[in-house]
Point group: C2
Chain length 198, copies 2
């Protein structure tokens, strides 16, 4: 399974935001929505063997489960609506217990650290880093976990946790990419088994 964790530092943790102002009032929730779209969509298909976590302000986390998703569309607004609907259930998310807000979308009261630990149990944590090894020199792991940040850098605490947990440190190219673009490139690297299978 391919897992992606995206940390959204400024996004809301309550449902009182406008779907018409994702890039402003909703703390760049648009960035996270694009990440979900990149994680799951193929042309006319959903990548079933994918799990994506959106960490909301280090306080709540949404888990999107490819095999179970039913109402996901590739546009930002409809994904943001799924996030908002899930946040309507926030009082149901007690401790680390998840609540299923819509098919394949789960909300829990967990921040970055427990999510990274949870994902790392099932996979190989791949850190994307400008000083990492060129991705072509690395064997694609069976069950990779990619960890990404929104329009901000990781916090010092997040970066420290990642340094500690990362099994590999790679760079995807000479340019610094948006998180959603990095997800697309990572998928292509995995789809082609390291640019060998077309």
């Amino acid at each position: 399974m391919r897992q992606f964790i995206v940390s959204g530092h400024d996004v809301p943790t309550t449902p009182d935001f406008s779907l018409s102002d994702l890039a402003g009032g909703a703390g760049r929730l648009d960035v996270l929505c694009r990440c979900v779209s990149s994680a799951f969509f193929l042309s006319h298909a959903i990548r079933e063997d994918v799990r994506a976590y959106l960490v909301l302000a280090d306080e709540f986390t949404l888990r999107f489960e490819g095999r179970e998703l039913r109402r996901l569309n590739p546009d930002e607004r409809s994904t943001a609506a799924l996030v908002r609907n899930a946040l309507e259930e926030r009082e149901e998310a007690i401790g680390h217990m998840e609540v299923e807000a819509s098919p394949g979308v789960y909300l829990s009261r967990r921040g970055f650290e427990p999510i990274l630990e949870r994902a790392a149990e099932d996979g190989t944590v791949v850190q994307l880093h400008e000083d990492g090894d060129p991705v072509v020199e690395v064997e694609p792991p069976e069950d990779p976990v990619f960890v990404l940040s929104d329009h901000h850098d990781f916090t010092v605490h997040e970066a420290d946790l990642l340094d500690e947990r990362a099994d590999a440190r790679v760079r995807l190219g000479p340019e610094r990419l948006h998180a959603n673009h990095a997800i697309t490139v990572a998928h292509n690297w995995l789809d082609t088994e390291g640019y060998r299978r077309y």
Copy 2:
């Protein structure tokens, strides 16, 4: 220069659409907006040496010019607003003459064929095709022109024109990708000079 042409078959050619219904009433304009974002955005930078054409229902075309863009943001809604603003000027676009609607965004009354011809004058037309050569076996051209379709396949006429004009026919991987994801993968191929420079 890298050029991208994206054909939007159902998108509006008049400005009377809602920014809150891009994936529905606006004929999947959301797809084209994501393509613009993929074509131009790096983390905290714009790719200046890029030109993107959005062909609107084979009737109008918007040209986005990387070096001149000032008001582009990565979210779908704000890009759609640029498209809508440009369409407010549609009566000013006479014959093949362009009108500049906002910095770096030009509207003209041209369909797919003249745009493909125009782009081909300055570059190597690369057709993305599932029966194409694996992209790793192809030398990245100096001035590539990638031609993509929205959520529909190319029309028969478009496909015939492309077959005729294409200098190379490549596939980016074993999976069929959304147009915006294909743009991201194509950029990464070019950025890395065919997965050799990291």
